[in-house]
């Protein structure tokens, strides 16, 4: 199984991004009910692995960070969920 997606938060981030083009950091934290610090640590691993694209901009002089699921992340998610389903079937 994909070690990166074994974390519930990281799997949740990828699932949240699945149907969306871009999602803001604050919206992800709200949806997943995690602290900004916790989410930041997890999401940076996804960005480093190339699973998620990051875009940093400024809106009214305030930083806005948005994320989008990359193809690598989409493929990894599909394979991971398929493996989870197989595991449940075998159990």
């Amino acid at each position: 199984m994909d070690e990166l997606l074994l974390s519930k938060v990281r799997l949740g981030v990828v699932a949240e991004l699945l149907n969306y083009d871009w999602v803001a950091f604050s919206e992800l934290a709200r949806a997943l009910e995690v602290t900004h610090g916790n989410l930041g640590a997890h999401i940076s691993k996804l960005v480093d692995a190339g699973y998620v694209d990051e875009e940093k901009t400024f809106v009214n002089r305030r930083p806005l960070t948005r994320y989008r699921l990359a193809k690598k992340g989409r493929d990894a998610f599909a394979a991971h969920v398929s493996q989870l389903a197989s595991l449940l079937k075998e159990a």
């Binding site: 994909d2 949740g12 949240e16 149907n19 969306y20 083009d21 949806a31 595991l87 449940l88």
Partner: protein, 193 residues
Amino acid sequence: MKQTILNPNSARQHIEMVDRILAESHPRLCAGGDFFVVWGLASAFITVLFHLVNIGMFPARALWSVPVVLAACALYSVIRARALRPTIVRTSLVQREFFNVLWLTLGMAFVANVAAFRIFSGIASAAIWSVAEAIVLLYIGMHGNRRAQIAGMLVVVSLAAANFVAPDRTAYVLAAGMLAGYAGFGISELLAA
């Protein structure tokens, strides 16, 4: 990538979480109700104005208001879209697809009006806009927006009705469809928001 094993209980929890997130993600299609109001009013105004000029009620110089109205609507759309963009915390893939459909449909209607004005002359040019507006509304309706379905049907019905009414009423029927369908949908979206 290092591979690790998950126990079945945790795997079940993860699958359930993914299912819940996907079930709760209902990407909503909307481009902002005010855009529909502005363009619905403008298209109805232009349709009726052309008719009134054709029957001699208004002088031909009144048509100079058309590019002014179109430019004002375009300017409003651009400024409003730029203001809205930073406030959108989620942009769905369906929404992106919708914008493609929106601009392609309205763009093709514009091309038909400008490049094929001899084919789509007179009331046919207004009918082209009705068709474009119906496609946009029905596309939104296809993604679960009941109000857009009804509004799209209203525009389609106005098109069919306009075909059968007396020629001097055709423009009014098309304009009514644009107002009730396109602008009406915009108002309903604003009220719902």
